[in-house]
């Protein structure tokens, strides 16, 4: 018995020994030490902001950035011509600028400022940044955002050389940028889109395809410089070369990728993080202490106008679907009231003439509670037009992704429509990669669940989804009047007249019931209340901590 105990002891001590020695220790112990300091209390004078997200940035290469998180990180470490913060546009590297009479040519005057390695930022860096974005050899997923620049499309498709792009450096400090058509929201887009920041040609050429793969493989022009991207943690430090560094208060920011949202919440509760996004299913738990912002994502059901199921492309039937849906019930059942119901195409927060679009224009749309009587009238009309005698003969298919949340949404809609209209709704699930890869582009669906996040703060970003020549027009919708309004809005230089046109276009699309609006997404979050100045926005960037401070 004693000997048996001995062997047990040997085995235990062996395993503990192995654990204590450790096969691997983290490399950046310096970084860890300082984190530990600030994590334990406020005795350190360094101002550190620690936050997390569930998704990992796809890249920090400005030309290739294609997700909100990519944009947020690049926004903090690179400075564009102008800087957008919570919807306000302020001078960035461009001290001042002029726009020509015809609204086509911007002349930017750049200030004297340096990259994090001490080299001056020049107009050539901006020219190179845009040329690289549109160069087919770069293969940027977000190249289309450069099509605003003159000849942008031609360069992107290889019909023109990159040198023919409508952007040039008059001298080191003067940048001339020509637009394809006048664009009212151009500057506000430049203020948040990372694709318009300057890029250093010599750095790109020395690293090749590895450019910006890690923190040390790029230089930084923004308020912060990236010092580490190792181990799913992005560490920023204040950039002392930044032109406006006196306005920057934080010394260090740590962004961690934590794919399990409940772990991030637990870390927040333990004081290991200062900001977390709440997963929708735990919003109710934190009702008293959480806050929320609109993240700009609108969810829709696309309706295929060219569907083989004729009833689906019938306008009266589409109206019946829209009137027959009680959106308040839907929100309660499908999202636990976390999101807010929507009955329009354009998210109301986007910029209007002088206030937000939603404040300036109110639309007469489908009632949020639905209207069964109106819906039944439209259904009757649709049935007589398409030769049905009873609603139960109608069968439509709703395509959604295999994500749990999308499945739930489809099931709730199925239930609500079947009860309200007496039709049959079947559900088809495809993978997420499949829905944007083939189902929507090929029109291989009847009704499909999708959504849109804005690229700039203007109604056009949503309306374009139904323009007949737009590559995102998945519903194959075509209305000449609608197309003409959008086309004319591009050349209209009077802001009010232009906004009226866009509003008119939205009315048309709602009148045509070309889609089923579902919801605006709200993001609930927990933020340590000692931090001030953290901005939330709905377009390209959700969280902006550039001007944040510790009380």
């Amino acid at each position: 018995m004693k000997k048996r105990l001995l062997s047990l002891l040997v085995a235990v001590s062996m395993s503990i020994g192995a654990m204590a020695c450790g096969a691997y220790e983290t490399e950046d112990t310096a970084a860890d030490a300082s984190t530990a300091d600030t994590g334990s209390g406020s005795e350190s004078s360094e101002k550190v902001f620690r936050y997390s997200d569930t998704v990992e940035p796809t890249t920090i290469d400005p030309s290739k950035a294609n997700s909100i998180v990519d944009n947020e990180l690049i926004h903090a470490c690179q400075e564009s011509l102008v800087r957008g913060t919570g919807g306000k546009v302020e001078p960035g590297i461009a001290e001042s600028w002029e726009l020509s009479e015809d609204g086509l040519t911007y002349t930017f005057h750049l200030r004297d400022t340096n990259w994090s390695d001490g080299q001056p930022v020049t107009a050539d860096d901006f020219v190179y940044g845009l040329q690289r974005l549109l160069d087919p050899a770069t293969a940027s997923e977000y190249a289309f955002i450069g099509e605003y620049v003159k000849n942008g499309y031609e360069v992107e498709t290889g019909e023109m050389e990159v040198s023919e792009l409508g952007v040039r450096a008059e001298d080191d400090k003067t940048l001339v940028l020509e637009l394809e058509t006048p664009c009212a929201y151009f500057l506000s887009m430049v203020g948040t889109a990372s694709q318009y920041v300057p890029i250093r040609k010599d750095i790109v050429e020395s690293y090749g395809a590895d450019f910006a793969a890690t923190a040390d493989k790029n230089v930084y022009s923004g308020p912060f410089k990236l010092v580490s991207t190792d181990n799913m943690m992005y560490v920023f430090e204040k950039n002392d070369q930044y032109w406006n560094k006196d306005a920057i208060n934080l010394d260090r920011v740590e962004f961690s990728v934590i794919s399990e949202p409940n772990t991030a919440v637990a870390m927040y509760e333990n004081g290991e993080l200062d900001f977390v996004k709440l997963p929708t299913d735990s919003v109710a738990q934190y009702d008293d202490i959480d806050s929320e912002f609109m993240n700009g994502n609108e969810d829709y059901l696309y309706i295929n106008e060219e569907s083989t199921n004729k009833i689906v492309s019938n306008k009266n039937f589409r109206k019946a679907l829209n009137y027959g849906l009680n959106r308040n019930d839907y929100i309660a059942l499908a999202t636990n009231n976390v999101y807010s119901p929507s009955n329009t195409l354009v998210m109301p927060l986007v910029g209007g003439v002088s206030k937000s679009y939603g404040e300036e224009y109110t639309l007469d749309s489908y009632p949020l509670d639905g209207d069964i009587d109106v819906a039944k009238e439209y259904l009757e009309k649709a049935m007589s037009e398409e030769g049905y005698s009873d609603p139960s003969e109608i069968e439509i298919e709703l395509t959604t992704t295999d994500l749990e949340a999308s499945k739930k949404i489809a099931e709730v809609l199925q239930e609500l429509w079947q009860n309200a209209l007496g039709i049959t709704v079947t559900i088809r699930q495809v993978t997420y990669a499949d829905i944007y890869g083939s189902v929507l582009p090929n029109g291989d669906y009847q009704i499909a669940y999708g959504g849109w996040g804005p690229d700039y703060s203007d109604p056009y970003t949503y309306l374009e989804l139904f323009k007949s020549d737009c590559s995102y027009n998945y519903s194959n919708y075509k209305n000449d009047e609608f197309d003409k309004l959008l086309e004319d809005s591009k050349t209209e230089t009077d802001v009010k007249a232009r906004m009226d046109m866009l509003n008119e276009a939205e009315k048309i699309i709602l009148e045509d019931a070309a889609f089923v609006p579902l919801q605006c997404r709200q993001q609930h979050y927990l933020l340590n209340d000692k931090f001030t100045g953290v901005e939330f926005y709905f377009c390209s960037i959700n969280i902006d901590w550039v001007y944040a401070d510790v009380e």
């Binding site: 048996r4 235990v12 654990m19 096969a23 920090i60 293969a139 977000y142 499949d434 959504g451 849109w452």
Partner: protein, 306 residues
Amino acid sequence: MAKYIIKRVIAAIITLFVLITVVFFLVRLMPGEPFTSAKLTEEVALNMEKYYGFDKPLYMQYFQYIGNLLHGNFGYSMFYTNKTVNYIIGQGFPFSADVGIRALMLAISFGIVFGILAAKNRGTKIDFFCVIVAILGTSIPDFIMGALLQYFFGIKWGLLPVAKYRGFEYTILPACALAFYTLASVSRIMRASMLEVVQQDYIKTAKAKGLSNFRITVKHQIRNAIMPVITMLGPTVASVLTGTFVIESIFAIPGMGKYYVESVTQNDYSMILGMTVFYGMFLVVCNLIVDILYGIVDPRVRIGGK
């Protein structure tokens, strides 16, 4: 012995080659394409396909891939543009392996000890305890185990960090959570195998020769009973060391686990291939080591191998 090893190595290389080929062509059959952002325009998609060489015939792409692989190059990820698959594995593997090794040490040592104790004290309270541990270990899924450990030790009692990897204390909970299942299966197998060995004639012979109880247990019983444990260790080591999605995401360990799962949903061809080949190589090597270990532990295998 040398001949035995060479044969095993050749078999391993062929296995790997078949694996690479099958996976290379299978990923192309998955629905959807790697570039499936909601905002992708046709023009951009064309540029991206050209960039990744998708415009070339498939067999050319295959030979190119094999060529790169021979240089140890897995290529660039199609989702995390600018990062190579080699870089991502290089970043994640040390963390996965670190937590994995700790978990394995725990699992194997405690598992074997529990198995032996249970078998030696069959029908007693000790046996009962070990069997309970084994049943719990195999029936509680790792995400529940992880969440429970995290809740009690991390949040409620504040004894250990909730998540992330910044030092030794951060590895304790994930290693324990990860070890639990393996520990349970090792102890079950060890117990069963010990009980079988005890019945063997050579144990009776050893007893008859008057050997001490300790000597019989260590030299004759354990050495023979451990064979099935070694068998299961090959695949277990490979899967534990290359990272597990669930435990790593619960404890926010920056390991490799998440890329396995993610790459498939993202249709990131080069990442899927890279991960599969890496895991495949690891598995093949582990099995090779197990085969060689057999030869050392049990001379019968060596003879049979000839």
